[in-house]
Symmetry: C2
Subunit: 136 residues, 2 copies
């Protein structure tokens, strides 16, 4: 957040400096006015692209981020969430057990709890719901 403020402050300063500079060139020198206007136009064009790209990137990050708060609201425990993640990768209960070093029974228990908390009837539905809630 501090970085954002800093960048924007510097940007505004630079814009102001450019503005002063252009009027200076316009009044005090004999450089052609078209050149001044054209360069100002170019610089602001680039600034527009830059700012827009920044805001777009932020949007992508937000939409691609996972909502950790919602995981808490749903009452999903650590282990349950881990199991959910493996489910979305398409693993079977057995494979999940091997990956997390627990028995298949344990995985089944976790899966059952996950389905309950996500209000899903099948693991495929859990995948869909988890995606909608942006917790994966």
């Amino acid at each position: 957040m501090k970085k954002t403020v800093l960048i924007f402050g510097l940007l505004i300063l630079a814009v102001f400096a450019l503005f002063r500079l252009s009027t200076y060139y316009y009044t005090r020198t004999d450089i052609r006015a078209e050149l001044v206007i054209a360069s100002v136009a170019l610089v602001f064009f680039l600034i527009g692209i830059y700012l827009n790209k920044r805001s777009m990137q932020r949007k992508v990050k937000v939409s691609g981020g996972i909502d950790r708060q919602k995981i808490g609201e749903l009452g999903l425990s650590n282990r349950e969430y881990e199991v959910l993640v493996e489910i979305t990768k398409g693993l079977s209960n057995k494979e999940i057990g091997e990956k997390l070093f627990v028995s298949e029974s344990t995985v089944k228990t976790h899966v059952s709890n996950v389905l309950l908390k996500l209000q899903a009837r099948r693991r495929t539905q859990a995948i869909q719901i988890a995606k909608e809630l942006q917790i994966i």
Copy 2:
């Protein structure tokens, strides 16, 4: 594609007109030069944002589009693909049957074929693979 060319052509014309207009005001009238420069800056700033937004949207569309060609390469038939889509929505075989007005047996056959063609062992894995291949 024609629309894009048209828009860009109009844009370039508008920019050129603006440029001529600004130099005209600058040389022939007594409007303050700062105003001219500032408005040119503003316009080009907005143009920068607009163009950037357009290109971004195109990117999003490309990344969000589904690869129909790949569906053909995989040998997935119409019905099989429809079933795959319903699988990714989290429906059971029975529900898919009701939605597509066929028996559960038929759905099972289609699912089996889909798994074979996607080289998946489970429907959850099929979801994952289909996503990677950008088929859904």
